[in-house]
């Protein structure tokens, strides 16, 4: 078809006419529609944004409440486990130990700790339905029909450790007199804990006052903070003048407590204790008294667990150095290459089974080659390692094995994106001065909280 044919022209004309007709429309309605739509969209977007923020805030508040009560539930369940441990397990274990030592002349070699199973028990009550069922199957219990097990919206967990297995810095309280064995033992333990050359960098830095502080100065300052007097502690017993740690020379001045520590973190205020030092050694210190029958500031090794190697290294060194100002009887205790592998094996063993007798520890130290199985990758190394000459009497000057008294509960509760942590310290043998109920014995058995912190 020719492009200039009349038919083609007619089509073009028709299209032109339609376009002209369309162009005559002003589009006011369209403009108004677009404007209205824009306003509506802005308003709706604004509403949606505000509502979602309020929803998130409300959900957060709800989850915070849930997580808080989850953590509190974990604390309450932990108290129950601690009660079982201290009222039932410990007496039975003590009887079994006395029976075995009478007939076999040796203990069981292990210490039963139901508190170690806090995590799985928490998941049984406060985990998902699946974890409840899993734990139930381990016990041979069918939990499908059980009510009240598991939590739909959240979870809880807890870890229980004994505070007795730490160095008690409150042994520094009281009056510093030459005969105060607690003060001397504490000095021994702290200087030995800090001794390792691997910590040299901590003492090569200036503190916030621009001073260098050595290990024995820190140990003395820790004791002087808690003791009642104003005299500087002197391990030689000859007296070394008055305490002058210049706490009041700081811009935000303060004064020494001169009384027992309320909390272990109070040690952060002591002269020479930097944040780095605190981070390195705080896990090995406590302010709660244990069951040491001699009251000589000894550490209870029955329930040590976790990263306890540096603590054991410190205690072994302290045991080998009756006078911390004099060199040890066996100089190998000062060698990290000798003492760390031994302490590491002891720490592992303590974490898994605990200790029921201090002889178990002495045996490992005296004869490391016999203390490790052939399957262990460290077997060859231990065969070449010579034992440390340390007696039971030496070790008993700084450590003992007995039923624990004070427990630390670290409970967590989780709901949604919120996680709450409660740290509580429970003293199972502290007397009640102000009982809350008529049943004082039951209240006493549940223990007395000496610390409570929620984060």
């Amino acid at each position: 078809m020719n492009s200039r044919s009349p038919r083609f022209l007619a089509v073009l004309r028709d299209r032109f006419a339609k376009r002209k007709q369309r162009d005559r429309q002003s589009g006011v309605a369209l403009l108004m529609t677009i404007t209205t739509l824009t306003l509506m969209i802005t308003l709706v977007a604004n509403f949606t944004y505000d509502t979602s923020i309020q929803m998130a805030q409300t959900a957060n508040a709800r989850d915070e409440l849930r997580a808080h009560y989850m953590a509190r539930s974990a604390v309450n369940l932990s108290r129950l486990l601690i009660k079982i441990q201290s009222r039932f397990v410990e007496p039975v274990m003590a009887q079994a130990k006395s029976l075995l030592s009478g007939s076999l002349g040796a203990g069981m070699g292990i210490s039963l700790r139901v508190t170690d199973y806090a995590g799985p028990i928490m998941s049984f009550f406060g985990g998902s339905k699946e974890s409840s069922a899993m734990f139930g199957s381990l016990l041979g219990i069918d939990t499908t029909e059980a009510k009240g097990l598991g939590v739909a919206n959240g979870s809880m967990d807890a870890e229980i450790t004994a505070e007795d297995g730490k160095i008690d810095i409150n042994c520094g309280s009281g009056v510093s007199v030459p005969g105060n064995i607690g003060h001397r033992t504490l000095f021994r333990e702290i200087t030995s804990l800090l001794y390792s050359p691997r910590y040299n960098t901590l003492f090569e830095q200036q503190n916030s006052s621009g001073q260098f502080v050595d290990r024995s100065e820190i140990a003395r300052a820790v004791i002087d903070w808690a003791d009642d007097d104003e005299q500087k502690f002197d391990p030689s017993g000859s007296g070394s003048g008055s305490e002058d740690y210049r706490y009041d020379a700081r811009k935000d001045r303060y004064y020494a407590h001169n009384g027992s520590y309320d909390t272990v973190e109070e040690v952060a205020m002591v002269y020479g204790v930097s944040t780095d030092l605190l981070e390195a050694f705080l896990p090995y210190l406590t302010v709660y008294a244990n069951t040491d029958s001699k009251r000589q500031c000894r550490v209870n090794l029955q329930m040590i667990k976790g990263p306890c190697t540096p603590l054991l290294v410190g205690l072994i060194r302290a045991a080998a150095m009756p006078d911390p100002l004099q060199p040890p009887k066996d100089p190998r205790v000062l060698d990290d290459r000798t003492i760390y592998p031994l302490a590491s094996i002891l720490c592992e063993r303590g974490s898994v089974t605990g200790f029921d007798d201090i002889n178990t520890i002495v045996a490992v130290l005296n004869n490391p080659a016999q203390s490790i199985s052939r399957e262990d990758p460290r077997y060859e190394m231990m065969q070449s390692l010579q034992g440390i000459n340390l007696t039971r009497q030496d070790l008993e000057q700084v450590a003992y094995v007995g039923a624990p008294r004070v427990y630390r509960i670290e409970a967590t509760g989780e709901a949604g994106k919120v996680k709450k942590k409660i740290t509580a310290i429970l003293d199972t043998q502290r007397p009640l001065f102000n009982p809350l109920s008529q049943n004082v014995a039951a209240e006493q058995a549940a223990g007395v909280f000496q610390y409570w912190r929620e984060e």
């Binding site: 308003l43 935000d252 040690v267």
Partner: protein
């Protein structure tokens, strides 16, 4: 061949058309604007009410959690009048409460601060808004055996524009609620209440009083005390 062109029509609007269009546009815009303004106003009111509710709720929750960490130390020098740790509540229209606690966060490296301090809730007139009273919170860096007002600490507004704050303390020993509590002085109590009921009344966005109530369960009612002689 010559083509006869048709005269073009006058394009655009007549004046009356423009007037009519503007009138309609103004009318519709005014109607829409009015609707949007009313909606926006309602939205702002709801937001203000929610904001007020949120502020009061957060303040109450904070006080509740902090009170749960309150403690009293047995390591005090009883020969001197000032105490390091305390739990003191004084009664008035807006009650004041001072207590030692274990909840302090160490914020400064090498700041020589532990995890204990003193928390103090009190009221203070707003420095910019006459007639407005705010609930303040002060937290000291450390515990010291001195007048608490002299201790260095951080202060901020916990809840603005309040009209009343009342505390009630449950004394488990005598099984009754008290309006006041003091652990200092000659007749000071040597334990803490088991429960604290907090009634916070705030002025809402309509200038009306709204009361919020919460309760805290104190965990360490006994003194925190080093007792090596027990159980040995």
């Amino acid at each position: 061949m010559t083509r006869r062109l048709r005269p073009e029509r006058n394009a655009g609007f007549a004046f009356i058309e423009v007037l009519l269009a503007i009138t309609i546009l103004v009318f519709i815009s005014a109607t829409l604007w009015g609707a949007f303004a009313r909606t926006n106003e309602a939205k702002k009111k709801i937001e203000a009410a929610q904001e007020r509710l949120h502020t009061a709720r957060v303040a109450l929750m904070r006080m509740t959690r902090e009170l749960e960490m309150a403690y009293l130390s047995g390591h005090e020098n009883t020969l001197v009048q000032d105490r390091r740790t305390m739990f003191i509540a004084s009664s008035s229209d807006i009650d004041e409460l001072k207590f030692s606690w274990f909840g302090k966060q160490r914020m400064r490296a090498d700041g020589a601060e532990g995890d204990s301090g003193l928390v103090w809730y009190y009221s203070s007139p707003d420095p910019e808004l006459p007639g407005v009273v705010n609930l303040m919170r002060k937290e000291t860096r450390r515990l010291q055996r001195t007048d608490p007002t002299l201790l260095v600490g951080d202060t901020y507004v916990l809840c603005p524009n309040i009209s009343r704050l009342k505390y009630s303390f449950f004394d488990a020993r005598v099984k009754e609620w008290r309006d006041q509590w003091s652990t200092t002085g000659a007749d000071g109590l040597d334990y803490l209440p088991t429960h604290v009921r907090i009634t916070l009344t705030v002025i809402d966005e309509r200038d009306q009083e709204v009361a919020f109530v919460s309760a805290a369960r104190i965990q360490m009612t006994e003194k925190v005390q080093y007792m090596p002689k027990v159980g040995t």
